[in-house]
C-alpha cells in the first residue's frame, strides 16, 4: 500500500532512487546534497537496496564513474551542489553527446566567492546548454516524483539524455514535507528496466567517445539538438502516465495557479513557488488580479507552452533565483527565455526580472507584495520602468 510520510527533499529523492532500483551510485560530499548519499548508503548497508555504492575522489570522478556504469548498462545516480556542480563541468557535454542517460541530483548552493551555503540556481543553470534535461522541484513530493519521471524520459530511446534533477538547497532539500510513497508495483508499471541500445559489452565490443573530425562534430551536435526537440513529446507521455498511475495532477511544463481572471503573474521555478502561492492567495483576497505560473522544465525549454500561457496576461514578473551577469536583460537567465518565447505572440505582456532568492536568502511574502506592486504600477503606466529589479535593494 502507498503510505504517507514526512521527509526532506533529499530523503524523498533517496526513496525514489531506491524504488527506481538504482544499480550504481557515486558520492562525494558537499552540502547540502550530501544527505542523499547518506540515505542511500544506509539503504545499501541495511540490505534494502542492491546497489554498488562508490566513493569518488571528487565531482569529476563522480560523474566519470556513473558515466562508465550507465554506459555499461546500469541505472546510475550521482549528485552535487554549488562548486561541486561546476567542478565536474567538463564531463557534462561528453555524457550528453555520448547519449548516456544517467541522473544527477542537484541540491542548489550558491557559487563562491566566498563560501555561501545558501541555495541559488546559478550553479547548475550554468550547465543548462550542455544537452541535459533539467527542471526544479517545489517540495519533497515533487523531488520524489521528478526522480522517477526523469529516469523514464531520459532513458526513452527517442531521448537518451542525462538529467539534472534539481531541488533548492535547504528550502526543499532539508525542510521536511509530506511525501506519498507509492507501491513498488506502481513504480514498476511506470518505469521500465534500464536498457541502453549501445551498452559496453565484452561480447559485442564498441568504442565510446572516439576522436572525430571537426565536420563530424556538427552531426554530433545535431543529434543532440534533435533529441532535445523530440523530448517534449516524451515528457508529455510520461506525465500523462505518471498522473494516471500515481494519481497526481502535474502539467508537463508549466503549471498555472489562481490565474483565472488574472492580469499579472509571477513566473518562477523551485522552492520559492511555495511562498509565492501564499502571496497570490493573500493578494487575491485584497482584490489584486494576480496569479502564478510555475515552470517545471528549463531544458527542454517549453517555448510553446510558455508563449500560450504567458501571453494571456498583461504583466509577467519573472522571479529569477539565478544570475546572468551582463546578459541582455541585465538580470537572470529566465527572462531571456521568456521574452524569446513571447516574441512571436501578437499580444505580449509587460515583463521584468525580479532578482530575488540569490545567495540563499529567503523571499518573504512582503517581497512578493512589492513585486506585485511594481507590476500593478506598470499596468497603470502602460510600461515597465526597468528590465530588472534587485528586490529589496532599489526603489521602483
Amino acid at each position: 500500500m502507498a503510505k504517507e510520510m514526512v521527509m526532506s527533499g533529499l530523503a524523498a529523492a533517496a526513496q525514489a532512487a531506491k524504488m527506481a532500483k538504482v544499480e550504481v551510485a557515486c558520492s562525494y560530499p558537499i552540502r547540502p546534497y550530501t544527505a542523499l548519499m547518506m540515505e542511500l548508503a544506509k539503504m545499501v548497508a541495511n540490505g534494502e537496496l542492491d546497489c554498488e555504492f562508490i566513493h569518488g575522489e571528487g565531482e569529476h570522478a563522480q560523474l566519470s564513474v556513473v558515466l562508465g556504469a550507465a554506459a555499461a548498462g546500469a541505472r546510475a545516480l550521482t549528485g552535487s551542489s554549488g562548486v561541486g556542480v561546476t567542478y565536474a563541468f567538463e564531463t557534462y557535454s561528453p555524457i550528453a553527446g555520448g547519449r548516456v542517460p544517467l541522473q544527477m541530483l542537484i541540491a542548489d548552493r550558491a557559487l563562491d566567492p566566498p563560501g555561501d551555503f545558501g541555495s541559488e540556481h546559478t550553479d547548475v543553470m550554468s550547465a543548462r546548454d550542455q544537452g541535459w534535461i533539467m527542471g526544479w522541484a517545489e517540495h519533497p513530493q515533487e523531488a520524489f516524483d521528478n526522480c522517477l519521471i526523469n529516469y523514464r524520459v531520459g532513458e526513452d530511446h527517442r531521448v537518451l539524455l542525462p538529467q539534472f534533477v534539481c531541488q533548492d538547497g535547504y528550502f526543499v532539500s532539508h525542510i521536511p514535507g509530506k511525501v506519498v510513497l507509492p507501491d513498488q508495483s506502481q513504480v514498476d508499471e511506470f518505469l521500465p528496466p534500464y536498457k541502453l541500445p549501445h551498452p559496453l559489452d565484452p561480447k559485442h565490443p564498441v568504442s565510446h567517445g572516439p576522436q572525430i573530425r571537426p565536420d563530424q562534430g556538427t552531426i554530433m551536435d545535431l543529434q543532440r539538438a534533435q533529441a532535445m526537440l523530440d523530448t517534449p513529446a516524451v515528457i508529455k507521455e510520461a506525465i500523462t502516465d505518471f498522473n494516471r498511475i500515481f494519481g497526481r495532477k502535474y502539467s508537463p511544463f508549466v503549471e498555472e495557479y489562481m490565474t483565472d481572471g488574472a492580469e499579472m503573474v509571477f513566473f518562477l521555478q523551485g522552492a520559492h513557488t511555495m511562498t509565492a502561492r501564499h502571496a497570490v492567495r493573500h493578494l487575491r483576497e485584497k482584490g489584486v488580479k494576480i496569479g502564478l505560473v510555475k515552470l517545471r522544465f528549463v531544458r527542454p525549454w517549453p517555448t510553446d507552452d510558455v508563449a500560450s500561457v504567458l501571453s494571456k496576461f498583461k504583466a509577467v514578473g519573472v522571479v529569477e533565483t539565478s544570475t546572468s551577469y551582463g546578459g541582455a536583460m541585465r538580470g537572470g537567465n529566465l527572462l531571456h527565455e521568456v521574452r524569446a518565447s513571447l516574441y512571436d505572440c501578437p499580444q505580449r505582456p509587460l515583463t521584468t526580472s525580479f532578482m530575488a532568492g540569490l545567495g540563499g536568502e529567503m523571499v518573504p511574502l512582503k517581497e512578493f507584495y512589492w513585486m506585485a506592486e511594481v507590476m500593478s504600477n506598470a499596468l497603470k503606466a502602460g510600461k515597465m520602468k526597468k528590465n530588472v529589479y534587485w528586490v529589496g535593494f532599489e526603489d521602483e
Binding site: 549501445h198 568504442s207 576522436q211
Partner: protein, 108 residues
Amino acid sequence: MFNIPKEKEVPLGCITPAPVTEQPMMITGNWREYRPVIDQEKCNLCMNCIVYCPDACWQLNEAEDEPVWNAKYCKGCLICVNECTSGALTKAYELDFADGVVRLEKPF
C-alpha cells in the same frame, strides 16, 4: 528532421564497433603538415619507429623485412623521425607530394 548527407553520417552518440584495426570514420591522416619518409637502404630495422609511433602507423612487413607506413592515420607528429637510429627516416613537407594532404578540401 534534418538532412544529413550519407558520407557525413555519424552513429548515435558516435558509438562505433570495436575492436577494429582501422576505424574508417576517424581518419586522422589529413592533420599532417610533414610526413616521415623512409630510405629502406639505410634502415637497420631497430624497430624504434614501430615501437614509438603513438598511433601504430608503422608496421613491420615480415616478408620483406621493412617497416611500412600508414598514410591514412599518420598525424605527422614525427616522433619516428626523432627516434630513428640510422637516419633512414626524414621529414618532408606534405604539399611536396602529388598525393599530399590538401587541407582546404576538407574542413580540416
